[in-house]
Structure formats: C-alpha cells, structure tokens
C-alpha cells in the first residue's frame, strides 16, 4: 500500500516540464542544425539536408504518436498513474511535428519546385494528393490530427465532456494506421523500418483489443 502511494505522487512536480523539454528536444536539435548549415558550419544534416529534414520530422511525429499510444498500457503495467497527466501533451507534440513535416514539404519541396509561386505550390499539393497514394494517406492522417489538436486543451475537454472527447479522440487509432502506411508506401523496395513501426502499432492496438474484450466479458465492467 505504501508503494502504491509513492507511485501515485512520484513525478508530480517534474514530470510535466521534463516531458515538455524531452518533446521539444528533436525540434531544437533540428533548428540548431539548420542554423549551422545556413551559416556554413559543420552540421549533421548530411548531403541532402532537405530530405534529412523530411525524414527526421516524419519519423519524429510518428514515433511520438506511437509513444502517446504506449502511455495507457504503460500505466496499466506499472500502475504509475501520474504518467496519464502527460498523455495529451505527448499526443499534441506528435501534431506539432506533423505540422512541421507538412510545412517543410510545402515550403522546401513544392514551393521551390513551383519557382516560389504560392499558387503553383497549392497546384502541386493538389496534384500530389490526387495522384500519389503515400501523400494521400499522409495528408489524411495530418488532417485527422487537426480536430484532435484543437480539442486538446482543458477548456475544450470540459466543453465536450469526457465521453464525447474520448469518442472523438478514438480517431487516433486509424490516424496512426494511416501514418504507418504513409511511411511504408513512401519507401522504395521492401524496407524494414515501416514494418518495425507497424509491428509496434499492432502491439499497441492489439493490447487495446484484448483489454476491451476482457472488460466486456466481465459481468460488471470496471470503470476505466
């Protein structure tokens, strides 16, 4: 019982700021590398910095999304309740990296390919969405994240009510599947990374299926 109490308060003061800075770190690193690059200093962006940027932001967004889906199983296993306080924060970070990923694609690919014409950029975007399946999937995932990001603030949670909020945020499961497919269809050949991301996602979703099946089979479902 004493151990339970410790776990219930452990991290109460430092968990939120620590999570914030951990989530900001990839973005700060990328910004720093770009600053070095643009100043002609040695940097870690390789010989194709724009491609590195796309991959880095996409990988980061997807991996943070997977981490956000791992929070609940982690709580169930460890019974460390305070971790739930940072779940929304982690999910929101996935959105911010996805937004940067889309902005980099628009700005560093489409805008340059269209000779800096904004109209040309949107024409290119529409063509990509219509023609290229991995862009279609990725865009669908990103658009799906927008309502979840907008409703991630306390006021919105209160306004929607916990039940409706939860029902809306259930959308994160299909969004995660779309994001993994986006990655898989983007790569050339049969590459290992999308399978690894997909495998982790399958585990996280499988856990939820098993848990809800078990809850349903009980005579009086436990509140969770």
């Amino acid at each position: 019982m004493a151990k339970r109490a410790v776990l219930r308060s452990f991290g109460r003061h430092w968990l939120k700021p620590l999570t914030f800075w951990l989530l900001a770190l990839p973005g700060l690193w990328l910004g720093w590398q770009w600053a070095m690059l643009l100043n002609g200093q040695p940097h870690a962006l390789g010989f194709n910095p724009i491609e590195t940027t796309h991959r880095f932001l996409g990988d980061t967004a997807l991996r943070i999304l997977l981490i956000s889906l791992a929070v609940t199983p982690f709580r169930d296993i460890t019974r460390w309740l305070p971790i739930m306080k940072v779940r929304r924060r982690i999910g929101l970070a996935a959105f911010w990296y996805a937004l940067l990923h889309v902005a980099a694609y628009l700005g560093l690919d489409l805008l340059i390919a269209a000779n800096m014409s904004i109209a040309g950029m949107f024409a290119g975007l529409w063509e990509d969405i219509a023609k290229r399946i991995y862009i279609t999937l990725g865009m669908a995932a990103f658009v799906g994240l927008i309502p979840l990001a907008i409703t991630s603030f306390n006021a919105m949670v209160r306004w929607l009510g916990a039940r409706r909020w939860q029902r809306l945020h259930w959308a994160i499961y299909p969004i995660a599947i779309l994001a993994v497919l986006h990655h898989g269809f983007m790569e050339k050949g049969n590459q290992p990374m999308p399978w690894i991301h997909g495998g982790i996602l399958a585990l996280l979703l499988g856990y939820r299926l098993v848990r809800s099946a078990r809850n349903r089979s009980r005579p009086s479902p436990a509140a969770s």
């Binding site: 990839p26 870690a44 390789g46 010989f47 990988d59 340059i112 991995y134 050949g189």
Partner: protein
C-alpha cells in the same frame, strides 16, 4: 535515440578539404614531383644516371601495356572530351551519399558498412551467347593501361543528381573481347552477393542478388562505361568497387555496382527494381522528365552539393539525347519507361 548523430567516419571537417586550386592542379604537382625525382637521379651524376632513367622509362612503358589492378592509390588515365559544364559534386558527397541497399537503406549506410565487402581478388563470370566465356580475373576484363576519365551527370530516380568524374573503360571495348554472337541481343549484369559481408541483404528489401540489363545496342553505345575509379582513385566500396556500370542517360539504379557476372542473353533480362515494382521501374529507365514516377514528379532534380533552394530542370536522357536518342527512334518512351 534518434536526435543525436555521431559524426560519421567520412564526415571530414571543412578545414580538411583540399583547396580547389590545389586539387585541380594535382597532376601538375605530381608531374613536378616526378621531374624532381629525375633531377635527383641526375644529381648522382655520370653515365649511370642516364642508364637508370631509361631503365625506369622502359619499365613504366611495359607496365602501361597491361597494368595489374592497383590495390590502392591513384590511377593513371587519359582525359577525354566527355564532360559537362556544371561543377563537379564534392567527393565527400559522392562517397558519402549512396544508394547501395546491400549495405543498408540509409544513404549513409554504404559508407559505413561497405568496407566489409572483400573486393580483392575479384573475378567476373562471363556466360551466354559469346565466343569466350568462363571466369575471368578483373585485370583480364578491364585493361588498366587504357583507363580514361569521363565526367558524367548522374540522375537518381529519387530526383537528385550529381556530376562525377569516373575512371574506367568503354563498356563496348570490354564486351567485344568476349566475342558476343548474333543471339546476344541483351547483356545482363549481376552484383556480388555475400550475406555476411553485405549486412543489408539480411532483409529482403529487394530480391537479391541485384540484377540489371541493357539491350545490346545500348551496351555498345559510346556513353556506356565500365568504371573502376572516380576522382582519380580506385572506386570506394560504397560506389561499387571494384567495377561498376555507368549509363548516364538512365536513372542511377541501372548503373549496377560491384559486378560479378556478365551474361549475353537473347531475351530481355529481369532487372531488380522492375521485379520489385514494375509500374514504377521499367526495363529502359531512361531519364525522362515527361514520365512521372507514380509517387513523384521527375521534372526537376535537387543537385547534391548545390544550392538548397533551387532545383535543376531535368533533361530528356539526362542531357545525352545527341548520343542516345537514336536508340529509341519510334518507341513510345512513356509506355517503354
């Protein structure tokens, strides 16, 4: 974690780069060094000097007749008119940004892992419709005394490009010595495969080994080149050591690396990327800005080492129409992509 990357072994510091002027003049500097050596001999004085100098000359001329493949160090080669006006891609990019999936799918994987491949000694199996077939040592396939330099554009199907000074011999000169027969309508190539030395092949990214092929008239075209070096030196492993194809009017993946088999065949051979995704990668794979890859446009390309905020317009046949367009006269190049 993925946010911090250790500097790679090939990531030199800016300060280590040889100044361009020095690099451009390297041959003059070498020549000067050679002259100094001769002067040194003269310094010894007497008739002995003349004798040793001429002996050295004789030795070097016989060596030039049929030189063995050098284990390392610079190559001797003739310069040619095959060049492009664009600046060369810096050597650290040419040797540090590679697609060689046998060593991993990240562009920096080949530079990190390709040293695990053993390339010396190297032999090539020649089979099919040809007068001379069998297993040949690399030195018997490539005449290291007849090397030439060709500065070619390289256009990757992923819409990036480089300009690379290759050292090698025309492919036609190599193929002709095997006396292909009339039935040899295509030539097929195969990349070395060793699952211990090539860690990327432990995952079925492609159906290993990597295979490629050309129509015979494409292979005999003056531009088709068999490279054993770049930037004046032997090929680094990650660039396809010890011998690779260079067909500059086609997307980069046609230029198969680390060749261990050459087959003269009568039917169009299978090619690795075509097997993986036939709608994306055709047999011909000629650079064609009008035929989009199903997943991205091919109209422009990012020049590696060039201005980040500018893309180059991709040219038909990568700018080599004059030399190769006649090979495809009357063909629908969208259909036969």
């Amino acid at each position: 974690m993925f946010f911090y990357r250790k500097p790679k072994p090939w990531q030199g510091r800016e300060a280590d780069v040889t100044p361009r002027a020095l690099y451009i003049n390297r041959r003059q500097i070498m020549a000067a060094g050679g002259a100094a050596a001769v002067t040194g001999l003269v310094g010894c004085g007497g008739a002995e000097t003349e004798a040793s100098t001429s002996a050295a000359t004789a030795a070097s001329s016989t060596a030039a007749a049929r030189q063995p493949a050098p284990a390392s160090g610079g190559l001797q080669y003739a310069e040619t008119g095959y060049s492009v006006p664009d600046p060369l891609t810096p050597i650290d990019a040419v040797t540090g940004y590679n697609n060689f999936y046998e060593f991993g799918v990240d562009k920096s994987d080949p530079a990190r892992h390709a040293h695990e491949m053993s390339v010396d000694p190297w032999s090539i199996e020649v089979d099919g419709h040809a007068g001379r077939t069998g297993r040949f040592a690399l030195e018997d396939v490539v005449d290291f005394g007849a090397l030439e330099e060709r500065i070619y554009r390289l256009r990757c199907v992923e819409a990036w490009s480089m300009v690379i000074p290759w050292i090698g011999v025309p492919l036609a000169s190599v193929l002709q010595q095997f006396e292909p027969t009339a039935d040899a309508r295509y030539v097929a190539f195969e990349t070395y495969l060793d699952r211990r030395e090539m860690r990327g092949t432990r995952f079925p990214v492609l159906d290993w080994p990597y295979v490629e092929g050309l129509r015979m008239d494409e292979a005999m075209n003056e531009l088709a080149f068999l490279a054993v070096g770049l930037y004046g030196d032997v090929l680094p492993n990650q660039n396809g050591a010890p011998v690779r194809l260079v067909v500059p009017w086609k997307y980069g993946y046609k230029s198969i690396k680390s060749i261990t088999r050459i087959s003269f065949v009568s039917q169009q051979p299978e090619t690795a990327w075509n097997k993986a995704a036939p709608n994306e990668y055709g047999f011909y794979s000629n650079v064609n800005p009008n035929r989009a890859h199903p997943r991205w446009s091919q109209q422009t390309e990012r020049v590696i080492g060039g201005n980040l905020f500018n893309r180059r317009e991709t040219e038909m046949f990568n700018g080599y129409s004059e030399q190769v367009a006649h090979l495809y006269a009357g063909m629908d190049l969208i259909e036969n992509h």
